[in-house]
Symmetry: C2
Subunit: 517 residues, 2 copies
């Protein structure tokens, strides 16, 4: 077998059987090898930002990596922003970056560039396949690296001549090391703190915002009175009826300061101490209140869920978790507002939904109005690089084809990676996208005043305005083969959302929601 | 004035009065400063790949830089692919990359990343503004660096706290050094070669494919019989009736080898010796024929046009350039073919047009069918990173608002940066886009066989196929406010193209051209 076949065979044997791809000439042997390794499902996207965002969504839901196939440095560059989000989400991904044949690189052909600079920017694990008889082993190492807790991008650069050479051999699975357990002394120290008289917050980070972690944390809270928060932008949080309902820290510094008022001990569980998303003149970057001590139950890469369970057994042996009761908002009526569209979602969200949430300012009320909806997962914008929502929905649906995916997508961000809609149509993915069209970069209107920029004029305002021409997402979606409709009232949104959920395949609803700001 | 105002004032004073922008929170003071420096025209795009591609098109036509405004590392990452093309085109651009406040960077906020790694990948000139009282001088230095021959990206990282601090001062213009003249000895040596008996080719590269360089080269050819070629992908080539018609080297290695058959001396004028775009098994990467000596008249950064004129005065004192006679193909009839659509363009291309050419395989005949059309400029895909055509058309039109811009755009590549259409509509740009919709990555079908991949199966073929669902570019364009129509016959294309050219503002025509392959 050639190098590409050895790579694909090793991926499949290692449990990586989906590849999101946008290939070029240097990847043609990889493409040709797809027929030799039919267990690999290749999903074509029309832009690498969709490829990488889809791999992120897939990894968050599947707990194992998808592969990506990227064309040289510029192809990887196009995918970097969503890989940045994946890095923040600690999503396991195996990026296969095709490169020129090694003997060709010195000629500085037009597409030549320094791929190592890009993989360096992304961090994670990186290796260049240098010999055809080692590409299988390189691939197995990449899978293991991607899966090593807490999860990361593994970047495997594949020169074309390694890909096409004969003499490849598939490599066996390399098991990633298990996450490190948290030692008893640390558990005991945190137990002492949560049992104390002073106000304590447990901040739940990576890996602990799913059922097992939430239940253990809720038991601790029940027994000791500590408060629970989830990090602001979890990679994946399980919630809804039957699960403990843990509020997330706010996006705005003011919200976090309010949430942490009077807290004396902040215990981090796979989370970082909260910092402001951006700097603002004369405002603090660190959001831990004065007089609050920061403690660490677990760091990234450690077994945070195990630590929470151990701690719960220590401090809350008889306590039960508090689970959210079923509760839905009534279906609202009247013209759409920033609030009532979220009530429609809360009223109709189906059991087992996966919510890809890039609603930004339009989605401020979503956590409240969906808290008692049937159990669902929410995937959030972990790294702040917009254009994640639609691609993550693609990947989540590929990972969980039997679950309905709901993508809540702000208009400005949607345009970064809008061709994800085409992949949804091509693959027949059961994704219902609601685009919140407020015809503005509304979040920047808020930020313009928050950064203390002087009273602004029309020329500044124009850069935050998405009208003139108005984007027509119905037309855009139809142009990519996705059935679409427009809602201007809550009744229309409810009717269209229910209909979309009832039908298989992708749908898009353009919800004309006025800007909050 | 604050740092942002000092930066903008220095840009405008230095002749940089257009900024293609996609801002975020860390750039809000720059945005606010637009009302204080109204000479700066800010052009909003919905994705950074459009921002940077537009700056490339602008610089190629204006011969001076536009600024870009990019949001932190991920924003720059999204713009990198088209900056790669700009780097290959040696286009002057001043990239302003907003960054977190310096004191905020250590907190590893979600959007934090290593911007230096990205500017390093791009190469060019880079600096981080470190003090508000120096940001004006930093900006002046960036402009000078961008304009230093042969032209480059100058990357100025602007921390938010430098942007918002008071105490900025605009800096005066820093003149870039003139391009180095080519010394007499080298001219004399090349004169000896072109006067010799052996076959000589002059390969015209950067800066020499415009009228002055073409005329001097044509005089040399007339007097000495040397053959002329332009590099494969010139940043800008002037051509059409009244100008010397210089054929470009081909994209395929086989074409180049045929073009250079029996050549004994290849003289480079601001060009590189030809290499294959990609490596192929058992094919050479270097395309200089055996037995052909390579000589250098001028390297990048030297005054190639001056050298050609000097050489012409030496070897062709009385010779005139051969100028292309006016000649247009007849308007064809019948269903669209890969050939006849180019005849429609040749028959109707208006005087003074700027052609942004990313037609890829569909455009193979364009150089022939437009050779005798009225004088026009062609901007080509210099770096191979697809998704350039539409953004470059945006920038070219902003730079030359009185000239008609014609964008010849392949379907697959169009989807990379399709939101450029929205900016065309917003700015009312006189751009007529013809999307060649062959429902395939046709170039990859060709490459799949050329790389010697084994007989491929349906799974490989599916990754090169853009049908299912079919992209509807009429619907996409209308969704972004651009009037659009579809042509399936040559008559329809001619009628729609003529109508679009006669009306101001942007238009899109989806030409249903079957794939060559």
């Amino acid at each position: 077998m050639n190098g590409a076949q050895a790579l694909l065979r090793t991926l499949v044997d290692g449990g990586v059987d989906v590849c999101f791809a946008n290939p070029g000439t240097s990847e043609m042997h990889f493409v040709a090898a797809l027929d030799a390794v039919p267990e690999m499902r290749a999903v074509l996207s029309l832009f690498e930002g969709v490829v990488t965002g889809a791999a992120d969504g897939y990894g968050r839901m599947a707990d194992r990596p998808a592969a990506t196939l990227l064309h040289l440095g510029p192809g990887m560059a196009n995918g970097l922003a969503n890989l940045h989000n994946a890095r923040r989400a600690h999503t396991p991904i195996v990026n296969v970056i095709g490169d020129h044949a090694r003997y060709h690189k010195g000629f500085d052909a037009p597409l030549e560039s320094d791929i190592d600079a890009l993989t360096g920017w992304l961090a994670g694990w990186s290796r260049t396949a240098k010999a055809v008889d080692e590409v299988g082993a390189d691939t197995a190492a990449a899978i293991a690296a991607a899966l090593t807790a807490p999860g990361r991008c593994a970047n495997l650069v594949l020169p074309a001549d390694v890909s096409w050479a004969e003499g490849g051999q598939a490599a066996g699975v390399v098991a990633p090391p298990p996450p490190a357990p948290v030692d008893d002394d640390r558990i005991a120290e945190i137990a002492r703190i949560v049992r104390g008289d002073e106000p304590v917050v447990l901040l739940l980070g990576h890996g602990t915002t799913r059922e097992a972690g939430l239940v253990a944390a809720s038991r601790i809270a029940t027994a000791t009175g500590v408060k629970l928060f989830a990090e602001t932008f979890p990679a994946r949080i399980e919630r809804g009826a039957g699960l403990p309902n843990v509020e997330r820290l706010g996006y705005l510094a003011e919200q976090v300061q309010w949430q942490l008022t009077d807290v004396k001990h902040l215990v981090l569980v796979g989370a970082k101490a909260p910092v402001s998303f951006f700097a603002y003149p004369d405002k603090a970057s660190e959001l831990v209140p004065d007089g609050c001590q920061v403690h660490v139950l677990s760091v990234l890469g450690e077994d945070g869920v195990g630590a929470l369970e151990h701690l719960a057994d220590e401090v809350a042996p008889g306590a039960s978790a508090v689970r959210q009761a079923p509760s839905r908002p009534a279906l609202p009526t009247g013209p759409l507002t920033p609030q009532n569209w979220t009530e429609v979602v809360g009223a109709l969200l189906p059991e087992g939904a996966i919510v890809s949430d890039e609603a930004n300012t339009s989605g401020l009320m979503i956590p409240m109005t969906t808290a008692g909806a049937p159990r669902h997962d929410v995937l959030t914008l972990t790294g702040g690089a917009i254009g994640q929502g639609l691609p993550v929905a693609v990947g989540a649906s590929v990972a969980a084809p039997d679950r309905p995916v709901v993508c809540l997508q702000a208009d400005g961000s949607a345009m970064y990676t809008v061709s994800a809609l085409w992949t949804m149509a091509r693959e027949g993915l059961d994704v219902t996208t609601i685009v919140l069209n407020n015809r503005a970069y509304a979040i920047l209107r808020m930020e313009l005043s928050r950064v203390g920029a002087e009273a602004t004029g029309p020329r500044a305002g124009q850069l935050l305005d998405l009208s003139g021409p108005d984007l027509d997402f119905v037309s855009l979606a139809q142009g990519m083969g996705v059935p679409a409709s427009r809602a201007t009232t809550a009744e229309e949104l409810a009717e269209q959302f229910a209909k979309a959920l009832a039908e298989p395949g992708p749908h898009l609803i353009e919800a004309m929601v006025p800007s909050l700001l």
